[in-house]
Symmetry: C2
Subunit: 142 residues, 2 copies
């Protein structure tokens, strides 16, 4: 798997692309000279994690014939500075799933657990460096 | 740090956003029912890593009064399946930096090393689960 980043201004705005060709805009905050014209790099890690588990969970619930009308995901990460460096990786990450549809709660919970333990590559990638937890809610619609 | 993902079709297309509000499109491949309308989740991890180190390296070279006319970055990751699961995290990642400008090679190399060892939070996040290497080239322009 490979991605390319090209610089699109004379500061920190990059346009990244992978196999779909759809551009992802990346930029730094204004306080360090960026123009806030894209996602922060560390946000992309949280987005990748959220997208990975979202796809798994939707696939699993579809196999179990649950009707998902909507799914919103919030991923929040708590960063901690590594002493002697300027690095602040995430040490705790929570993924919150908000489902709407004709979904049995136990099946939603099971689908999330299966993603976390068996399917989601991003979880496998990030769990050695961050504790990953999840929460969920189901807005049941007949 | 927090990001939100909202579903934008009835398959796997999500729109993610963080503090800039600029949307990042995420989608699955067509062979699992996606529409290829966005980045793959695992690509976002590589993009985050590339963006993180790109910003560091540009900041460091600016402080060292090097003139960077352009910077292109390729990030490639080698995925390995974890036995007993369907997870395929990256186990090796290479970041290639292609600089154009009035840049002394030793300073480019030093800037990359500083990013990897001291500044880049994404490196700290991913290096416990993947070996991260780098290569670079300088197209020197007076």
């Amino acid at each position: 798997m490979q991605v390319e980043l090209v610089r699109v201004d004379d500061a920190f705005h990059f346009q990244a692309s992978g196999m779909s060709g759809v551009p992802v805009h990346i930029d730094a905050a204004e306080n360090i000279g960026g123009h806030n014209a894209g996602a922060r790099p560390m946000e992309l890690l949280l987005m990748g994690l959220g997208g990975c588990t979202a796809i798994d969970v939707l696939l699993i619930l579809k196999k179990q014939r649950q009707r998902v009308d909507d799914l919103k995901i919030s991923v929040s990460g708590e960063r901690v500075k590594i002493e002697g460096t300027e690095m602040t990786p995430f040490r705790k990450i929570n993924i919150h799933f908000a489902f709407t549809g004709a979904i049995v709660e136990a099946k939603a919970q099971k689908a999330i657990e299966l993603s976390m333990e068996k399917y989601c590559s991003a979880t496998a990638q990030l769990s050695p460096s961050a504790e990953i937890t999840h929460t969920y809610e189901v807005n049941f619609v007949e």
